[in-house]
Structure formats: C-alpha cells, structure tokens
C-alpha cells in the first residue's frame, strides 16, 4: 500500500475517532431537544413549594432554562392551579411578559385567580370548555379565635406600640378602622390585578369588571364567550396553536420540571425551606 493511501486511511480513521469523542463528550450536556417547552404550574403558587404547591423560583428558573435553550421556539404553560400569593404570582407574570419567545397558556382543570393572571400574560390562552377559570379578585383570610377564648374565659392581653401593631392577631377581632385599612390594601391589590389583566387581554377595565361577574368563577366556554380565553380545546389544540405561533413544521415537546430528592422533600416538610437542584428532563407528553 502506498504511503499516500495509508495517510488517507489514517486521516479517515482519525476523523471517525474525533466524531466518536465528540459524540461521547456531547452526551454529557443535556440540552433538551424539543422545540416546544412545557412548563407545569400546578397547585398553589407561593415563594416556597410545600405539599404539592409550586414555588415562584422554580417557575422562573424553568422559564430561564427554556429561554436559554436555542431549540425552544415556543413555551407552553400547563396551568392547573387555583392561584396563590399575589407577590409570587406577580413575579411570574412580570417574568412572562419579558420573555422573548412566544408563550401559550393552557388551562387544564383549574386556572383561577392568580393562575388566570399568569395565563393572561401569555400570547394566547387555550382552555377546555369545562375548565374552571376566572375568579378575578383577591382574598385575604385568617382564623380568629377570640370567640373560642371568650367561651373558655381566656383573656388576650395586648400591649403594643403603636396600637395597630398587632393587627391581624388571631387572638382578637378586627376593629372597624383596621378592617377599613385592610380593605384598602385589598382594593389596591385588586385594582392592580384587574388593570394588568385588562392590559394583557386588550380589554378595558370596565369590560373586565363587568364580564368577570364580581370575581366569580366561570367555565372555559363562558370565558371564551367573554373574551378571557382565545381557544377552546385540549392537547391537540395547544399543539396546533404552538405550531402557528412558533412557525413550526414539526412539534416536539420537552417537559421542563424541577425535581426534588428525598432529603429536599424532608427539608421542606421540616423547615419550610426549598433547597432544590433544578433538573430539566425529557418526559413523555
């Protein structure tokens, strides 16, 4: 065999070896291949995820992960949540609004209150005709034991400066003035929620107020008729809308989710802390 031929075969062998090393090294990096990222928002939304709720930090990290992945062309939020803490909800809403990629909200069984607010920040909302949505409003509640204490002759003694320092104490009832203060806070929160939904849905505040029926829940079908939902349907509809918004010829979905191991779950339970390691995964959709 001539030297030239040997050199040629040697070069081809080196090329194949290089390809092998490249495949091996590449497999250590996990960039999810799907062009549609599915992020689940399930359970009550708060700053920590305890007992099946979802944490705002988890959701925002997943959004960051989906935005960073060059494969992802569309992000779908699968929402099955009654809402949650207003601050956490608003953080998610603000993060969704600055997303560069198209985002679609898919309301599953329930997408009410704060969860609907999150959906409204997306480019389109898909819901089943029988999804429960709406409930555009805010609520604050707590257990108050003054009646029980009175029944058993227990007196609550409060010494506080200034006077309203122990407002919302469960051991005494609210004064009229304190009630008024809290209603003012709720009113501010409500109007912030309402105005943002109106802006997101391209509706006037009056329209949203009238059509949302005093914060009542509504079926997906009703929400569609009133302009709060854009499409009625299920998974196939979501994929169709994703294809349209992302200009996609084929759709491949990757599920983005955070996973906790047993020590992290125990830690949440015992300490209410949410230490976690974000792991995005390829799961069947």
């Amino acid at each position: 065999m001539s030297k030239e031929l040997r050199m040629f075969y040697y070069l081809i062998s080196l090329s194949l070896l290089a390809v092998f090393f490249a495949a091996l090294l590449g497999s250590f990096f996990s960039v999810l291949p799907g062009n549609v990222a599915l992020i689940r928002i399930e359970g009550e939304i708060g700053s920590q995820s305890i007992f099946g709720g979802v944490s705002v930090d988890d959701i925002i990290s997943l959004i960051d992960e989906a935005e960073r992945n060059p494969n992802v062309k569309v992000v779908v939020f699968s929402i099955n949540s009654p809402g949650g803490a207003i601050v956490s909800v608003q953080e998610i809403v603000e993060r969704i609004k600055v997303m560069e990629k198209p985002k679609i909200a898919w309301i599953r069984d329930v997408g009410t209150s704060g969860a609907y607010w999150i959906a409204s920040a997306c480019d389109a909302i898909v819901a089943s005709p029988f999804s429960i949505t709406g409930s555009i409003g805010v609520v604050a509640s707590y257990l108050e034991f003054s009646g029980l204490f009175e029944k058993y002759g227990i007196r609550y003694v409060n010494l506080s400066i200034p006077e309203k320092k122990d407002m919302l104490s469960p051991y005494r009832g609210l004064t009229e003035e304190e009630k008024k203060d809290i209603m003012e806070i709720l009113n501010e929160s409500y109007w912030g929620f309402l105005e943002d939904v109106a802006h997101n849905r391209n509706m006037s505040v009056e329209e949203v107020t009238n059509l949302s029926d005093e914060g009542a829940i509504m079926l997906g079908k009703q929400a569609y008729e009133r302009g709060f939902v854009d499409y009625l349907g299920g998974k196939e509809k979501v994929l169709e809308v994703a294809r349209e918004f992302g200009n996609l010829t084929r759709v491949e979905v990757s599920v983005y989710e955070s996973k906790k191991d047993i020590s992290e779950l125990l830690s949440d339970l015992l300490f209410g802390l949410s230490r976690f390691e974000l792991k995005a995964s390829q799961k069947p959709f």
Binding site: K3, E4, R6, M7, Y10, L11, I12, L14, S15, A18, V19, F21, A22, A23, L24, L25, G26, S27, F28, F29, S30, V31, L32, P33, N35, E67, R68, N69, P70, N71, K73, E252
Partner: protein, 137 residues
C-alpha cells in the same frame, strides 16, 4: 523554508477543519441535544468544552501523523519531513502549543533567528525540506 512551513500549516488547518472539526462539531452538538443549528445562544458552556476538544484533536492530528509518517498531510504536499521523533511523546511535546494557543506566540518567537520553534528545540526535532527524488532516464 518558513513560507513552506506556513503553507503546510494552512493546508493542515483546512484538512482538519473540513474532515475533522466540522463533522465532529455537528455530532457533538447533536448529541448534546441541539436541533436548531442556526444559533448556539445558550450553549456557551458546551461550546467552550468543544473548543477544548478541538484543540486536543488538532494536537492528536499533528502528533499522530508526524509520529507515524514523519509528516502531516500538509507537510507531505510541501515535501517537508520531521526528523528526530523517536517516540510518540516527542511528537506530542513538539506540538503541545496547539493545545494552549496562547503559548503559540512564545513557541514561534525563535523562528525570527532560526528555523526551529521553541518546542521543536525542547523535543529535539527538526523540520527538513526533503524533495521527492525523481530519476529520469
């Protein structure tokens, strides 16, 4: 001689680029999960890893050819041969700057006054012009 060596280097770069770098980069990013090859945004980490791999592959390309054939394909076309390589370690040592490109400047500096790079001196190897003998009758 320096112009021949530079030309040989360019030929090796081209061969390496088309036959090794390009195919392995596709395979690397595909197995990392990338499906849209129009952008590497968000893949800075894997990209840096791949650059290191490429440097290593170029080192392997040059060293293995010089050890096995006393010349790389680029040197073959310019009738250059490497002398003084007794073991694979010599070939690796003389090409080590290709693994860490910033070292390359130090490596090239002695070429101002001689025909040996710094790491050629360290490895006791030399590049010679050996034209192919043509016997005519």
């Amino acid at each position: 001689m320096l112009d021949k060596r530079f030309a040989a280097f360019l030929i090796d770069l081209l061969i390496f680029y088309f036959l090794i770098f390009v195919p392995s980069s596709f395979v690397f990013f595909y197995s990392a999960g990338l499906r849209d090859f129009t952008s590497l945004e968000g893949l800075e980490g894997p990209s840096v890893s791949f650059l290191f791999l490429s440097s290593f592959l170029f080192l392997l390309y040059k060293s293995s050819f010089e050890f096995s054939f006393s010349q790389t394909p680029g040197k073959y076309f310019l009738s250059l041969e490497v002398r003084g390589i007794e073991k694979f370690g010599d070939a690796l040592l003389r090409n080590l700057p290709f693994l860490f490109p910033p070292f390359f400047l130090f490596d090239l500096f002695p070429l101002v006054t001689s025909d040996q790079r710094l790491f050629e001196r360290i490895s006791h190897t030399q590049v010679l012009y050996v034209p192919k003998l043509v016997i005519e009758a």
